[in-house]
Structure formats: structure tokens, C-alpha cells
Symmetry: C2
Subunit: 398 residues, 2 copies
């Protein structure tokens, strides 16, 4: 039996070899010596989220490239220090690798075609699902029987009631479809559940379908369909993810940007803002007054107002936006690859079996942002802030 | 612009809805409310390692299933609490999902066929690479020219010498191929570099090729080819990864187990063991003596003696072995998907540009295991341990 692998750092007191004698101590070689095993487990677990039905997906390469381009990939001097005939062979291998890269790009294109072919096969099943969910059709006996067997296999304890039994003597007519199907499914998918406020639930329970479509160009759109509701007049709200036309390293598609539909909020129903009011006292008159202002607030519906890639030079801002871009992209992926393909398993919770459970939740990654910045108001008015309280959300109706 | 998403926990003081009234506080619903955004960034970055040329790969689902099966996926009671006609529709959707699963499995099979088709296209390029690396052929002028352009685009600083120039006036005949090509490439791939000891390098510099082959059954083998060397008589050492015959959730192939070739070490050249000696004093006679024993030690060549899946009930042991199984699987993946397809980019360091840089290296994940357990020896002999020192590795030759 082999010994557990240690996290060793090689020391550099041995005889010179091509490996330990770079021309300078450049980032490449020092990076190569960094301990990195710790990260593997994470990746393993991520790979294990067995939901990657459309697995050939665009990567955040461009983002990462931007981050790392200045750190690694520069010459260590090692290649340049090689004798000329060896350098010529290295260049030759780089030329051979270009042929490989062209093939890789073709491979990725063929995988995408395969995905589209299967997406066309999946679509009738999604349409049937939508009809059952919304009560316009009932499942066939065969489908129910197959599903019941599936459920019995899954539940090992005998407690759960047998689906389909009529122990509460309710008739099919009194319940239309599966109420709040999509909201329930979304709330079982952790990355989405995080975003859904209690107010959001009042709107999201009107979801009638979540669909996906490939674009003509590289990319896809997520289509959220809603029944008539008191929050907005849109019947569909669409989020579109665009990939770059040119494929990246390894032939992967590269995520470019996303856009979202504008939501036509009904009066005082915008879930993405809240009204804050604060008392102000005039320094001269000592009179107080209440100032109200509309400030952005957390809501799932911010998903349709995706962050824009940073343009400026401020590194802190750029980092923050990049994090949000990554999250935004990941949410789209989760919906496309997990929620839509297997919504019923998210509804019942079965899909959770196959999800990574991150035991080391790093809550520190997210800062508490309850301290709203109201400086602009007080500056404008030359008033003193006296108190700062949130009065109400505009849309706290049931 | 939307507000950064907070890591909120919903409170449960609102009106009852299907979402907030599970029949009991079962793991499903509590899991769904766990903060999970922190894990997304990791996954994003992993996805961004743009090296997944064979991206439809077996997952560690079986392992994860084993871990989580007892935690999640059990009924929360919510589905069972639904009215009978709704339960019937849920069962029907589960039946529809089974059709979807069958299609997903077919999709994965077709992706594997596509991978094999492209692997056949890549193979001549790999063979040409091996010939250039080992000096049996020289690259063509076109390949060198293409590679030089590639190199010029990559290096933004003008310092690096132009490959192919003969500023050192060396002739092609005096250097055979690219010395230590594979060792250098491996040492730039962090997960592999971690495993390579300085003694290992003396053996690994004799690598002439690393190849991959698909098995007849689901799985693949990694073939390490060596020139004649002083460490072992094998000319090839093979590591084989087997997948399960049956596909898992989402149609993914599931990793089953791995096997490795036995290495025919030459006398006193086994890099996977070291000799420890310790002085012992007999309690009665007070005489001391030196006991030598061979103990396993860290080495890349332990890769060919993969861990076995745990059979017993001891949870601590099982967890440790699972971690090592995950690492072992990940190493195979890294070699198959990153090192072999783009070895020249690992050699030059270009591939590092597209790697995740894990800024939060969790060294704590790995324990220092320098305290060898020698209890068995002292017990057997009823002797007292006096000192415990490592005398020498058997293979410290240059």
C-alpha cells in the first residue's frame, strides 16, 4: 500500500538539471512548485455533480486569462536557454500543436451539434412536463407507474405515503397541475435558493415554465414564462448568454457576456428595489423631515440585470465585478444544465443526492452590506442624518 | 446596476406556502437553505481550466453517492403531503424523466464515440511528437515556422531569444531530440509536480512517451514508456482506469477502480520505499543494536499502486482512502486531458496561463506524516526505542 502523498516543497540543493536551473526565478517555475493538491479535491467534487448533460460548455477562460495573463505564461528563460537545435524542435512541436488545436475546435463544434441534436429529442419531454405542471394534461398510466417505481426505489423508509393513493379523498379536478412547481424546484437548488427572497416567492410562484434555446450564434437563452401576476406585465422574461465567436484554448467556447429582459414592473411592485427613509434635521432651522429614496435590494430578479464587464482600471471594482460575473454565469449554467433537464428531481429533492455538499462553506467570502451609503443625500442637503431606517418594501403584499 | 447578492438565510415567520411547510424539518429542505454561493466560485474556476478536451468524463458519483446517500435525497415529507391528484402528476413527471435519462445515457455514449473519433485524429500528431522528442525525426520547416509565430505572439517581452536562431552555434547532431521533455512537462503541471521527488526525477527523465488508449469496455489506460534505465526493467508502465458498465445520474460514466503495473525495480532501486534504521536497547541486557526496516515513502511511482476502495466499516479510514481515491482519479484525468493533449504547452509553460490559480491553498488539508509508527517493532522485541533516524534512501544515486 502506498503512503499518503505529502505536500512537499522540493528543495533546490541538488545537482543542476534542466528542471531546477531556469535562467531566472520566473513565475512559471515557482508556480509549478506551489502546493496545489488541496485544490484537487474541490475540483473532483465539482466534477462529481453529475448534472452536466451539456458538458461541453464555455469556460470563463477569458476572465481567467485576464487575471493570470500578467502572472504566468511568461517565459521562465528555460526554453530560451536551450541549445538552438533543441529550440527548433520545441518550435516544431508548437507547430504540431496548432494542428491539434484546430482539431480540438472542430471536436467542440461537433459536441455542440450533438448537444443540439439531443436537445431536440428532450424538447417534447419538456413540453409534456409543462402541460402536466400547468394542468392542461394528465400523465399517462404508464408514466405514473414508471414514476411510482422510481419513487419506491428511492425511498428506503416505509414512512412515505405511496404516491397516487387517495387517502385524502381528493379529486383531480380540485387541483390544477402541480402548484408552485418551479418555485419549489428552484428552492431546492442551492445556488438559486440563495437569491430568492420571500417577496420573490410571491412572484416566482407564477412561473409556468423555464425553457432553454440555443442561439443562432454561439450562446443560449433562458426563457422564464409567467402566468398573469400582480408584479409585472411580462409573460416571458429572458436572459441571454453569449459566447465569443472564436474558441479558446483547448477548443472551448468562451463566455462573453449576458443580457436580460427589462421587467415591466407594476406600480410599487418592483422587487429589485426597496424604499428607505431617513429623518434629516436642518442645521439652521433645526426642523426635521423624512427623506425617502429608492435603493437597489437583493432579489432573484436582479438575475435579469446582469453585471457588465469592468472597463475602468480600478482593480478592487474589477475584482468585485468579476466575482459577480462568475456567479451570474454559474447561475445560468445551473439553470441550463441542472434545473431545466431535471426539474422534477429538484422538485422532489432527488437531485440533491448528486450535488456536491460543500462542508467548508466560506461565509467570509460574502460581506454584510447592510450599511447603505446615504452620503449623497446628506451632502446635497447640508443636513445631518439623525436616523436611518427601512420603512417598507413596496411589494410586501402576500 | 444590481446589488451584490447577499448570503441570506430566509426566516420562517411568514404565511405557510408549499415551500416553507415541509412535513418535517428533513435534510432536503434544510440543505436547500444552506448558504452555498461560496462554492460556486470554485466550480467556476475549475470549469475554466480550459483543458477538458475530453470533457464528457466519468464522475466520482458513486463515491459521492456513498457519502451523501444517508444525508440527502430522503423524502422531506413535502411530496407525500400533497393532495393525491398532485402526487399522481409528480409520479407521472418522474416517469417522463426516466425517458429523459435514457436519452441522456445515449447522448453520453455518442459523446464518447466522438471522443474516440477525434482521438484517432490526434494520434498521428502524438506519434510525430514522440519522434521529435526522441530525436528520430526533425520537425518540418512549416511546423517550425508555425511554432515560432505562435511563440512570438505569446511572449510580449522582447527579451526571449528567437527560437531556431543559432546564436550558440550548436549543430542539430549534438543534441538528440528534446532532453527530459516529459519530466519538464510534468513538473509544470502542479498536481503531478507535487508527487515528483528528486529521486523520481532521475527515473522520470528516461520517459520517452506518455500515451493514452481507450479500453474495449468503458475506461482508459495511461502508458508510460521509458528508455533503458538503472531503476527498473519495465519499458512500459501502465495505469488503467475502469468505469462502471452502467451509467449514472445524468448519463455520466462512473469511475469504478484503477489498477497499475507492477514495477520491476532493480536491486536497491525501489523509489517507493526507504530504509529506516533505529537504535534499540534491550531492557535486560542494556545492549543496543540497529534495526533496519523498509518503509513506504512518497514517490510518483506510487501512482502505479492505486488505493483500493474501502471495504471495512471504519469511517476515518474510509474517508482517508476516499480522499486518496479522488486524488488518484484526478491525477489520471489530468494526465489524460491536460498533459497528453498539450504536452508541449506544459513543457514551455504556456498551458499554465489557462490553469486555475488557487489563491487559498488549504495546506491544512494535508497532515504532516513524518511521525512514522514503529510501535510494532518495539512491541515485538520488548525493547525501548532510543532514537529513530532515517539513514538513507536506497536510491540516492545521481
Amino acid at each position: 500500500m502506498s503512503e499518503p502523498i505529502r505536500n512537499k516543497k522540493p528543495d533546490i540543493t541538488t545537482a543542476p538539471t534542466p528542471q531546477n536551473t531556469p535562467a531566472n526565478n520566473a513565475p512559471i517555475s515557482s508556480h509549478a512548485q506551489q502546493p496545489g493538491i488541496a485544490s484537487i479535491k474541490e475540483e473532483d467534487l465539482d466534477r462529481a455533480t453529475a448534472a452536466s448533460i451539456f458538458a461541453q460548455n464555455p469556460k470563463l477562460v477569458s476572465m481567467i486569462q485576464g487575471k493570470l495573463g500578467s502572472l504566468v505564461g511568461r517565459s521562465s528563460g528555460y526554453v530560451e536557454s536551450l541549445p538552438a537545435p533543441v529550440r527548433r524542435r520545441v518550435a516544431g512541436l508548437q507547430g504540431v500543436q496548432q494542428e491539434h488545436s484546430k482539431l480540438e475546435a472542430k471536436f467542440q463544434e461537433e459536441v455542440l451539434e450533438l448537444e443540439k441534436k439531443y436537445f431536440a429529442k428532450f424538447t417534447p419531454l419538456y413540453e409534456k412536463r409543462a402541460k402536466i405542471v400547468n394542468g392542461t394534461t394528465e400523465p399517462s398510466e404508464e408514466e405514473v407507474k414508471a414514476g411510482e417505481q422510481d419513487g419506491e426505489e428511492a425511498s428506503e423508509d416505509g414512512e412515505s405515503g405511496k404516491p397516487g393513493s387517495t387517502d385524502k379523498d381528493e379529486s383531480a379536478e380540485s387541483f390544477k397541475g402541480i402548484p408552485e412547481f418551479w418555485l419549489s424546484a428552484m428552492k431546492n437548488q442551492v445556488s438559486l435558493a440563495e437569491l430568492i427572497t420571500q417577496n420573490d416567492e410571491q412572484a416566482l410562484k407564477h412561473l409556468t415554465d423555464i425553457r432553454m434555446e440555443y442561439l443562432e450564434q454561439p450562446g443560449f437563452r433562458l426563457i422564464f414564462e409567467f402566468a398573469d401576476n400582480e408584479f409585472f406585465s411580462n409573460r416571458t422574461i429572458i436572459k441571454t448568454y453569449y459566447y465569443q465567436e472564436e474558441s479558446g484554448y483547448g477548443g472551448d467556447f468562451i463566455y462573453d457576456h449576458a443580457t436580460g429582459d427589462k421587467i415591466a414592473w407594476k406600480s410599487d411592485k418592483d422587487l429589485t428595489v426597496k424604499i428607505e427613509s431617513k429623518k434629516q434635521r436642518n442645521k439652521n432651522t433645526k426642523q426635521t423631515r423624512v427623506v425617502r429614496k429608492t435603493v437597489p435590494t437583493e432579489s432573484f430578479f436582479n438575475f435579469f440585470d446582469p453585471p457588465k464587464a469592468p472597463v475602468g482600471e480600478d482593480e478592487d471594482v474589477a475584482e468585485d465585478v468579476e466575482e459577480r460575473l462568475e456567479l451570474d454565469y454559474q447561475l445560468g449554467e445551473d439553470i441550463k444544465e441542472k434545473l431545466i433537464p431535471r426539474a422534477i428531481d429538484w422538485f422532489t429533492g432527488k437531485a440533491l443526492q448528486f450535488e456536491e455538499v460543500d462542508e467548508e462553506l466560506e461565509e467570509g467570502d460574502f460581506e454584510d452590506e447592510d450599511d447603505e451609503e446615504d452620503d449623497d443625500v446628506s451632502e446635497d442637503r447640508d443636513d445631518e442624518d439623525e436616523s436611518d431606517e427601512e420603512v417598507s418594501r413596496p411589494s410586501s403584499s402576500p
